[in-house]
């Protein structure tokens, strides 16, 4: 009997939860704010669904209602992707070690 592909996706999902669990516990507490902004950015990979929806219409039906929602979702996700990664980078650039010559 063939296994439903859903089971494979479910396996990936469950294993990723465990990966997430161990990876996130190893994040140092001082970087919890960048953690939140970067998870924000990566969860906006939902943009792939938005792009598929946006490109679904033919050349005459670019603006059927489904692709309009796709376009809006693209804009929202893009705000998050650029905003999330850039603000994370800005924050991480500020974390500096004590200068050695001062010690």
């Amino acid at each position: 009997m063939e296994i439903d592909p859903l089971i494979f996706r479910l396996s990936i999902f469950i294993l990723s939860i465990f990966v997430g669990y161990y990876v996130v516990w190893s994040v140092t507490p001082s970087l919890h704010t960048p953690l939140m902004s970067v998870t924000n950015a990566i969860s906006s990979v939902i943009i792939v669904g938005a792009i598929i929806a946006g490109l679904a219409g033919g050349s005459e039906t670019i603006f059927n209602i489904s692709s309009v929602f796709g376009f809006l979702a693209i804009a929202l996700a893009a705000i998050n992707i650029f905003g999330g990664f850039l603000v994370t980078q800005r924050m991480l650039a500020m974390y500096k070690k004590k200068k050695k010559d001062k010690q």
Binding site: R9, I12, F13, S16, I17, G20, V24, W25, S26, P29, L31, T33, P34, L35, M36, S37, V38, T39, N40, A41, S43, S44, V45, I46, V48, G49, A50, I51, I52, A53, L55, A56, N64, S66, S67, F69, G70, F71, L72, A73, I74, A75, L76, A77, A78, I81, F82, G83, G84, F85, L86, V87, M91, L92, M94, Y95, K96, K97, K98, K99
Partner: protein, 465 residues
């Protein structure tokens, strides 16, 4: 156009890169590289999506335009936002993820052919279940985050909004969401889909209004988690590995942060979610209000105490963020260091309005991260320190949490500030903190209250050093 198998492999690669992005955050040295991994993963996912649709007609131009418009808005916000406003920013970003998930679900519901999910009115059962769960969680994330944003921004009062029958109403709505998903899947009715979305928006709103301002660290982490589950739900619908992996990562990340925040307050997750904390304490605190003597001083006294100390521990809190005092504080510390005084910073897990909030502000003010310590690392050092400088923190220093079993914050881990030889407490007035209880520390023999704005007081002390 590339094959479905090849694109699935690329999605897996970007999923792995996202894992590495989070892994990088285990230390500040590797974190910048981690962020780069995340960016590469995102680029791979987007490019592969373009290649796999193989559609480079006029629609493609529109997609690029919308990416550019959204991207420039995002980049503009990322460069302009002050570090003190990070909690609002993150809450705002969560709401966008939620709304994007809702929009993608709507697009898939209206045009299932484009996603290979069947035809309209006859969507595959599994996909419809995943889609409606993703849409419902996305809608809750959106409206909940909007409320969190308004509360953090101060547009909406941070005090909890409660009413009779609130929990019963919420429970009924949550049950009706489950029933609606069941009905939707058996009838495929689009009306039910819209009703499901509307009441999910409503419940997101109702769930967050009873939660008070200082519980926002839990709320933000929880909404972070929800946005992940919403993404995972959509990922199942689209059969996209990158989205499923990311959703699971973000979902568990937010859940862990919520857990850490709840533990930092010694409260259960449900206690926070049910809300109303700090709202009804007015009566109890006024009955026990007695006039107790307080020693107060000025910047000169504070400078004198610190000048004669050999070690100082700084305890920052949300008040420092409000007063934007982090730079002034760092200047004061620089002066102290010039006088060979050892200075370190003690951060309570729930200081500020989001996890790690204080660390970011101190990093912004060029405080080296190896001078900043977490509660467990530094709590024993208070007994050996000469001066504790509490700036903008309150409840997290209250010794009552250790001594009075009647207190609402009893059992909460607190910084042992009172063990210092002397305590300098910068505060605007004697008003109680968020939990609505008096801080015993104010009345201790070795405490000197400095009534002033945190930034102004810090600057004045620096002048007097």
């Amino acid at each position: 156009m590339i094959s479905a198998n090849l694109s699935a492999i690329f999605y897996l690669v970007s999923g792995v890169l996202f894992i590495l992005a989070l892994r990088g955050l285990s230390s500040p040295e590797t974190s910048r590289q981690g962020n780069l991994f995340g960016i590469v993963g995102m680029i791979i996912a987007v490019v592969v999506t373009f290649l796999s649709t193989g559609n480079f007609s006029s629609g493609f131009i529109f997609v690029l335009v919308f990416i550019l418009v959204g991207g420039s808005i995002g980049a503009f916000i990322a460069y302009k936002i002050p570090m003190t406003a990070m909690p609002e920013l993150v809450a705002g970003f969560h709401s966008l993820v939620g709304l994007a998930a809702v929009f993608v679900a709507i697009a898939a519901f209206l045009n299932p052919e484009a996603f290979n999910l069947g035809t309209q009115g006859n969507i595959k059962l599994g996909s419809l279940i995943e889609m409606s769960i993703g849409a419902a969680v996305g809608a809750i994330t959106f409206s909940g985050s909007v409320i969190a944003f308004l509360k953090l921004q101060g547009i909406m009062s941070g005090s909890p909004i409660t009413f009779r029958g609130q929990h019963l109403l919420n429970a009924l709505i949550l049950i009706s969401i489950i029933i609606l998903i069941y009905l939707l899947c058996s009838t495929q009715s689009s009306n039910l889909f819209w009703i499901l979305l509307s009441i999910s928006f409503l419940i997101g709103f109702l769930l967050i209004i009873p939660i008070g301002g200082a519980d926002m660290p839990v709320v933000i982490s929880m909404l972070n988690s929800y946005s992940g589950w919403a993404a995972a739900g959509i990922g199942f619908t689209l059969e996209n590995t990158a989205l499923i992996i990311t959703g699971a990562l973000v979902g568990s990340s937010g859940a862990i942060l919520s857990y850490i925040m709840c533990k930092g307050m010694n409260r259960s997750f449900f206690n926070v979610i049910l809300g109303g904390f700090g709202a009804t304490d007015d009566a109890s605190s006024s009955t026990s209000k007695e006039q107790r003597p307080v020693k107060s001083g000025n910047a000169d006294d504070a400078a004198f105490l610190m000048k004669n100390a050999s070690s100082v521990i700084i305890v920052p809190g949300y008040g420092m963020a409000v007063a934007q005092a982090q730079h002034a504080l760092r200047e004061m510390v620089d002066t102290l260091k010039k006088n060979d005084i050892k200075v370190s910073y003690a951060i309570h897990p729930v200081a500020g309005r989001m996890p790690g909030h204080m660390n970011v502000l101190l990093a912004e003010a060029n405080v080296p991260y190896d001078e900043v310590f977490e509660l467990e690392e530094i709590n024993n050092d208070f007994a050996n320190a000469d001066v504790a400088f509490v700036i903008g923190a309150n409840d997290v220093t209250n010794p009552v949490a250790k001594t009075d079993p009647q207190s609402p914050i009893y059992g909460m881990p607190v910084l042992d500030v009172e063990k210092c030889k002397s305590v300098l407490f910068v505060k605007r007035s004697l008003s109680p903190g968020y939990a609505g209880i008096d801080n015993d520390l104010f009345y201790k023999e070795n405490t000197l209250m400095l009534f002033a704005d945190a930034k102004k007081m810090t600057e004045d002390i620096t002048k007097n050093l």
